[in-house]
Structure formats: structure tokens, C-alpha cells
């Protein structure tokens, strides 16, 4: 079942001279994890905002094409309220996503479900579960404003989790997290995809994402340059010619190939340590 459907989406910001997205068509199924990859300015953040129904409503600009979430148009005034609580969108700045009314982390996480008018028993259960799954139970009574960047990022994630969304749209969700936080976030998103949510993650961190997504979509100047398995793209020269590059190991192999044109160093590049060892072992 398609959770997110974008059909020939073209979007341009106000006063911009070029389209931020040009004819993008993308379907993300329930249970799928889709990784948006691209150089800065390629259009990944814009695509997430358009998919969430936030652009052009909050950003201004012009949009053509059709967006569908669970078959509903999130842009159309008469239908978008049917999607409340169904879409989790996490932008790059976590502190901006706080409600600014909560005095504790528990209240912050409960803000969304309360706005949806859910009964208190359900809110309590959802908040408790979100705190536990994100490993932030010990922060429940702390002020959200007093947390570190990584802790804030986990609270934002928990706030979305408490609404049980069907679609996750995440823009650089790992940016402020340490390795433990990254692992927790990856696990939670895997579980969410497992229970039938669709997950779309925009990030340039190829090392962290390798193995976390079944599909990669390479964006280049607002168009889709590749849509397929991550390993296929990241081992190919296309990741450099139209994208931000590959994994650290692939980067190393590519640099080595420039110095020594050994066929074992050429594309397709090894993506991780194990692959490199298997390929380069004498």
C-alpha cells in the first residue's frame, strides 16, 4: 500500500530563479525505508516539506503536481485535517520543534496527542512507551530547554512517536546524536517500518545509513538521478558525479584508485571495512 505518493512535483521558492524540485515522482510503500541522498541544495529538505504538506503553505512559492498521503491530499484545505497525527516531520533544528509551553519532557511529548484530543489514558500510555523506546525515561521531569542537543533530538523523536504516525519524514535526524543515540533512533525507525509505517530520511551520512534503508533516492538539482538499492549507487561513480560521494571506505578506495589504477581499487567501490578487506586481501 502506498503511504506517500508524489506525482510530477515541481516546486519553486518565492523569488527563486530555479525550481527546487522539478518533476519529481516518488512512491513510498508501507513498511519501506527510503533514503533521500543528495548534495546540499539538491532538494531533499524541500521534498520532505512538500511531502508533509508544509510547502508551499508555510514557505510560500509555487507547487504543481500531486501529493498524496494515505490517498489524501495534504495540501488541500478541505482534506488535510484528516491527516492530523499521521505525519511525523522532523526538521534540522530540534529546539524549534518544541511546543514552548511544556515545562517537562513528559508534557512536551504529550503535547501532540493532547492536541489530537486523545483520552488521557491513551496519552499516558503513549508517552510512557515513547520515553522508554527512546531511552529518555530519566529525562521525563527535566525541562526540554535545559537538555543537550542530542537529548532534545530524542525528545522530538519521542514527541512524534507518541502520535503513532503512518509516515515519518526526517531531515538529518542523526545530526546532533552520539553513536548510542544514533543506534536507538535507527532501532526505533526500523521498528516503526516493521509495524507498517513508511520512513523517508534525508541525510548525507552514508556511513550511518548504509544497511538502514532498502532504497536510496539520489536527488540532483531537484530531480531524481537514481532510485534503487543503496549499495548499487554508493559503489558507483554516479554517487560522486551527481551526489555528495559515498561511504568513507568507498572514498578511500576512490582516492587510492587515482594514485594506483589497480582494477581492485576501481568502481564498484567497497562500501565498508569487511568488503574492503575481502577485496584487497592479498
Amino acid at each position: 500500500m502506498s503511504v506517500l505518493g508524489l506525482d510530477t512535483i515541481t516546486f519553486r521558492y518565492p523569488s527563486a530563479s530555479a525550481d527546487a524540485l522539478a518533476g519529481v515522482t516518488l512512491d513510498v510503500e508501507a513498511g519501506e525505508t527510503c533514503w533521500l541522498y543528495g548534495a546540499p541544495g539538491a532538494g531533499a529538505s524541500t521534498l520532505l516539506m512538500v511531502a508533509a504538506g508544509l510547502a508551499p503553505r508555510f514557505t510560500g512559492g509555487s507547487l504543481s503536481g500531486q501529493v498524496r498521503i494515505l490517498g489524501v491530499d495534504p495540501v488541500e484545505e478541505s482534506t488535510r485535517h484528516d491527516l492530523r497525527g499521521q505525519v511525523a516531520w522532523i526538521g534540522t533544528a530540534s529546539d524549534i520543534q518544541f511546543s514552548q509551553v511544556a515545562e517537562t519532557v513528559r508534557e512536551e511529548i504529550a503535547f501532540g496527542p493532547a492536541n489530537l484530543g486523545q483520552p488521557m489514558s491513551r496519552i499516558d500510555a503513549a508517552v510512557g512507551e515513547a520515553l522508554e523506546r527512546l531511552g529518555i525515561g530519566h529525562l521525563a521531569h527535566r525541562s526540554p530547554a535545559a537538555l543537550s542537543g542530542g537529548e532534545q533530538q530524542r525528545v522530538v523523536m519521542a514527541s512524534m512517536l507518541a502520535m503513532s504516525p503512518a509516515l515519518w519524514l526526517l531531515d538529518e535526524p542523526d545530526a546532533a546524536l552520539d553513536s548510542a543515540g544514533k543506534e536507538i533512533m535507527a532501532r526505533v525507525l526500523r521498528e516503526e517500518a516493521g509495524r507498517g509505517s513508511a520512513v523517508v530520511i534525508a541525510t548525507g551520512d552514508a556511513d550511518a545509513m548504509l544497511g538502514r534503508a532498502g532504497r536510496i533516492v539520489l536527488l540532483d538539482r531537484g530531480t531524481i538521478a537514481f532510485d534503487g538499492p543503496p549499495r548499487q549507487l554508493l559503489a558507483d561513480e554516479l554517487a560522486w558525479s551527481r551526489g555528495p560521494g559515498g561511504t568513507s571506505v568507498a572514498e578511500l578506495a576512490r582516492a587510492a584508485a587515482r594514485l594506483n589504477p589497480d582494477p581492485r581499487l576501481m568502481a564498484p567501490y567497497p562500501l565498508d571495512f569487511d568488503e574492503a578487506m575481502a577485496r584487497w586481501k592479498p
Binding site: 492530523r84 509551553v101 515545562e103 501532540g112 496527542p113 493532547a114 492536541n115 484530543g117
Partner: protein, 226 residues
């Protein structure tokens, strides 16, 4: 015991009305005295000090205008005006310092208020501390880039643009970002009543204070204009 979030608004409104209804100079001075005692009793002496520091130049100006310079209304008028300002400013700062956004939102939700209207009040009351925090972070960032924000008056004036411009731009950007974040979290959900997480009770003390304030304002109006 904490007051219901609406009660301080009634009290501040009452203080503002009484400050101009009570006969000067005794009325405003007595009112200011009462507000100061209430501040001390509530453990918010800091609010009275903060209001005094803000008003200090204004009090000096009032004394100069009404008392020292020829053609003024005399010292009693200066004292009355100063006391009025002192009472209203102290009560307002007490309101701001004791304001709990989540309790206010819960109180508004349980009364069936529009969530947007309640949030607007909360945002307005929180704007000053948020701006101060943002200004502090911009100041630190600009200092790290070599900006000299201290020293001579001319240096301070020159530092204003690199400090104020990012503040204004960041504030404008933040409005859009925050609106998007609130939208995603079901903030504007037509036909849905927000669930109050912990609706604050209206106690007998709240009722007494609200009715007492109203009666005092009405009595002062009758006394003044009746």
C-alpha cells in the same frame, strides 16, 4: 498553594484599574505598598526590585517634571504617578515570573477556549525571555567572530547592526519553522478539543481573590465617579 492561571490576570487588571481609580496621592501609594507586601509574601521580592530598577529613571524624570521644574503639578502628583507605575509594573512582572505556560494552556483547554488564542497569549508573555536568550547566543557568536560589543559608546553603536540584524532575521525565520512544527503536532485541528493534561482547579481562594478584586474596582469606581 498555586493560584489558578487566570487569577493573576484578574489581579493585575484590578491593580491597573485601581491605580487610576484611587484618589491620589494616598490611594496609589497605598496600592503600591499593598503590591510590595504581596510580592514579599509570595516570595517574589525580586520582581519588586526589577520593577524598581526599570522605573528608576522614570521616577527621577517625574520628580523633575512635576516637582523641580516650574509649572509642574507638584511633588504629590509625581509621587502618585510614580506609585501608579510602580504598582502596575511590579504586579505585571510578578505575573510574568509566576506564569506557567502549560498550566495556562490546560486551563484554557478545559474552559473550551480556542487553542490558537491561548497560544497567542502564551507566546506573547514568553517573547521577552526567548528574545533575550537568542540575543545572548547571537552576542556570543559575534564575539567569537571578533566583534567588539563593549568599550566606547561609538563601539557599542557600531556593534548594534551585527547584533540586531541576525536577531530580527532569526526571529522571523523561527516564526515559520515553529508554525510548521506546531502544525505537524496537531495544533490546529478543527472540531477537536484539546485534552487538558492536568487541568488546574479553581479553589475558594481563587474565587475570593477574583471577586474581591472586582468588588474593590467597582467600589472605587462608585467612590470616584458616583
Amino acid at each position: 498553594m498555586t493560584l489558578h492561571p487566570f487569577t493573576p490576570f484578574v489581579l493585575v487588571g484590578g491593580v491597573a484599574a485601581l491605580a487610576f481609580l484611587l484618589p491620589p496621592p494616598v490611594g496609589p501609594v497605598a496600592l503600591y505598598g499593598g503590591v510590595l507586601i504581596a510580592a514579599l509574601a509570595a516570595g517574589m521580592g525580586g520582581a519588586a526590585v526589577a520593577a524598581g530598577l526599570v522605573l528608576l529613571p522614570l521616577w527621577g524624570f517625574l520628580l523633575l517634571l512635576h516637582g523641580i521644574l516650574p509649572g509642574g503639578d507638584g511633588y504629590p502628583a509625581a509621587v502618585a504617578q510614580g506609585a501608579r507605575l510602580g504598582a502596575v509594573a511590579t504586579a505585571s512582572i510578578m505575573l510574568l515570573r509566576g506564569f506557567k505556560p502549560s498550566r495556562f494552556l490546560d486551563a484554557a483547554s478545559s474552559r473550551g477556549w480556542s487553542l490558537s488564542a491561548a497560544y497567542l497569549i502564551v507566546s506573547t508573555l514568553q517573547a521577552a525571555p526567548r528574545l533575550r536568550a537568542r540575543a545572548a547566543s547571537i552576542l556570543e557568536a559575534q564575539r567569537a567572530r571578533g566583534l567588539r560589543a563593549g568599550g566606547s559608546p561609538w563601539a557599542r553603536v557600531r556593534a548594534l547592526v551585527p547584533l540586531s540584524l541576525p536577531l530580527v532575521l532569526a526571529t522571523l525565520t523561527e516564526v515559520d519553522d515553529r508554525a510548521m512544527a506546531l502544525e505537524i503536532r496537531g495544533f490546529r485541528s478543527p472540531g477537536v478539543t484539546r485534552t487538558p493534561l492536568d487541568p488546574p482547579p479553581t479553589t475558594g481562594r481563587d474565587r475570593s481573590l477574583r471577586w474581591g478584586t472586582l468588588i474593590l474596582v467597582l467600589a472605587a469606581s462608585v467612590w470616584r465617579f458616583g
